[in-house]
Symmetry: C2
Subunit: 356 residues, 2 copies
Amino acid sequence: MRVYNFAAGPSMLPLEVLESAQRDFLNYNNSGMSVTEMSHRSSYYDDIHKECISLIRELLNVGDNYDVLLLQGGASSQFEATPLNLLKKGRADYIVTGNFSNKAYTAAIKYGDIRLVASSKDANYTYIPKDLDIRSDIDYLHICHNNTIFGTRFTEIPKCSAPIVCDMSSSILSQEINVNDFGVIYAGAQKNLAPAGMTLVIVRRDLITDGLAICPTIMKWKTQSEAESLYNTPPAFTIYMAMLNLRHIKKNGGVKAVQVYNEEKAGLLYAFIDNSTFYTNKVVKEDRSMMNVPFVTPNGELDKKFVSEAATAGLVSLKGHRLAGGMRASIYNAMPREGVVKLINFMTEFEKNNKL
Amino acid sequence: MRVYNFAAGPSMLPLEVLESAQRDFLNYNNSGMSVTEMSHRSSYYDDIHKECISLIRELLNVGDNYDVLLLQGGASSQFEATPLNLLKKGRADYIVTGNFSNKAYTAAIKYGDIRLVASSKDANYTYIPKDLDIRSDIDYLHICHNNTIFGTRFTEIPKCSAPIVCDMSSSILSQEINVNDFGVIYAGAQKNLAPAGMTLVIVRRDLITDGLAICPTIMKWKTQSEAESLYNTPPAFTIYMAMLNLRHIKKNGGVKAVQVYNEEKAGLLYAFIDNSTFYTNKVVKEDRSMMNVPFVTPNGELDKKFVSEAATAGLVSLKGHRLAGGMRASIYNAMPREGVVKLINFMTEFEKNNKL
């Protein structure tokens, strides 16, 4: 009955998390109400809010010199919040490795001297640029850690004297990271953290200042930091779901164990594709994403057929993004190993039946 | 077991709505997945998104010359979105009738020639200013329809040649309105519409323009309008809950029937308070809110005792906002008549036991 959902986000959540939310949906912790109905000033919600932040700190090993904010608006809101909060000298550098880092770059241009350091657009974003001429006198360098659409990933974080701002929407909690490598990490929740509607921002405290005067109040990290992410009504149910998911990750061994599991899943799928003459992944091997695996068959007609027949077999949302074409298997934390194995078996069968 | 939750928002949702969401939580419409996991580009979600917008249009009688946007960020996001989208001449007038209209006013100041037309701060916001000297050459007039904290309401919409922008966070869907009286209506969802995490914006199409160049992309009504509120990942589960709630309102006779029910509930409570020498509501009678009823006992000690004993009796979140003190009964759409009757009975008993 339950399908394997390969969507790029929103995407699968652990069944255990969903069952827990369903069980308590009408009456959370004997409060006599649903989490969806709770005052964000109630002690019930306050416990959820604090536990969610505390679990993020613990699982990502976030030091006291960083603040953890739970906001609304999606990662897209941080495309503008970043320059609005960080520009002081008025200069920032961007590396564009896909659709969303390009949006971040474009959004920032209107606020200062924003420079494109490097882009992999010349090869349809199938690699991560390595040769970087980053300016020394900038407020920050912006990168996107994992590119959801094109299936690439920074396996090494660039060297830079200025703070690095990193969009980790599609890789947060999927592998161990060193938070100290970054000035700011932000991530939309809807891939590895929770349902859509929440944005995680981890920001080094010395970078929390007044920002530009034109910055909308709800985008001000300082305002949200001082209010402990309760400046306005938070997306309470989404934060509750994040808390359940974080508990689930902790119970299963933390981010280290998650990474091992993800490496195995991605390893299986890439090995199968590499051994195949029918399926191709166009990304430079060393830059491959562990979360999003784009691939194609020998032609567009077969790609279409693949997506349709896979859905019938219970493997859904495998269609690639329109900018990339073909297929894409997003295999986030909550995609079970069995889902990947089932996909590989389906791919094997499909190849047999459609060999040119 | 289920309490009567008088919180100012997030607040009660109809039990039928909660039960429906719980029943389908693991498997929506035989999709094999939860709404919390669905791609926002899937046909399952697309149906939810469109039905939600269509029900808002139907229930509020929104004409084709208005667009309906489902956004993130809370009503607070619209405090800045309003001037950023609407300022052309660079001038706007504000009426300040409480905490949130004051926030809206303060937020707008940084973007133009923003004038305070009238304020009821002189009497701790217990009335709605009537004598208004609105400028003729402004881009818009901003008002807050219902004041959650102080319990007042505009029973008549001011006359104004410029478009009126109205924050309806705590009154949307609680009474019939004429959308054509307004240029823009916005509302956070967490009182009468859905759980927290969604913001409804109804905007007259001729007011959807490029706006100020510094406007963040996700705050641009034009961008969201062109993308049918799918510019970035929407808060899908919250929109789904809104859809269920709108279906519930429609089934029960629409906004007209809701209004009759709300008038009865508020009528019962105000009549009881007016007949009492123990309880007082300080708001000018003609400006009373139908949604939020603040009241006090003869002293602060008794107020505290009231809130605590009421909670024990299953009447929760009756504490007034810290800016207003005392108690506040928020009796939104989903508060059953029985909840109000139970509150009145409790008030009667409490008075008997605590007569000075």
